[in-house]
Symmetry: C2
Subunit: 93 residues, 2 copies
């Protein structure tokens, strides 16, 4: 059964699945500011909209638009600002 997860009081929702090589999820973020924590390393691919991200160890916010992606180390926290509803694909591990 497909698992739906909710974060930040439902401001972020995702559906988990098994990707080709790795566990994955697709999700949508409402506009807002979020701090996420990783367990495994993650690859975040913006599917629609844009994410402005402060990655661990960086002092520079960068904006990733639809079709672009960024890596996040494992056991790390990262900050995300969202201006319009944004869909993403996340690959874990």
């Amino acid at each position: 059964m497909l698992a739906v997860n909710e974060y930040f009081e439902g401001q972020v929702k995702s559906i988990g699945f098994q990707g080709k090589d790795k566990p994955a999820s697709v999700g949508v973020m409402e506009p807002g500011d979020y701090e996420f924590g990783t367990g495994a390393p993650e690859v975040m691919i913006v599917v629609s909209g844009a994410l402005t991200v402060l990655l661990p160890g960086s002092d520079c916010w960068q904006t990733y638009h639809a079709g672009t992606q960024f890596d996040v180390a494992g056991d790390a926290k990262f900050q995300v600002k969202v201006e319009t509803q944004t869909a993403y694909l996340c690959l874990y591990g």
Copy 2:
């Protein structure tokens, strides 16, 4: 609030949102055979996995892999076969 929709007894789940120009959803399909109906025309973009599709008026099944897309006319039905959990982005209208 982000709306989560379920179809085919939870075998297909999606999250609706407002895309840049059009209403949109991201979703995941479990392996299976499905018939979907459109209201507005749709663009289906495969995000992960693959969809094998019989489009309205076609007698030929075609497989669309991650990164490819197909159009579906409005007020139409189309058939989809799914072999592995597959994520998609759907744009409406």
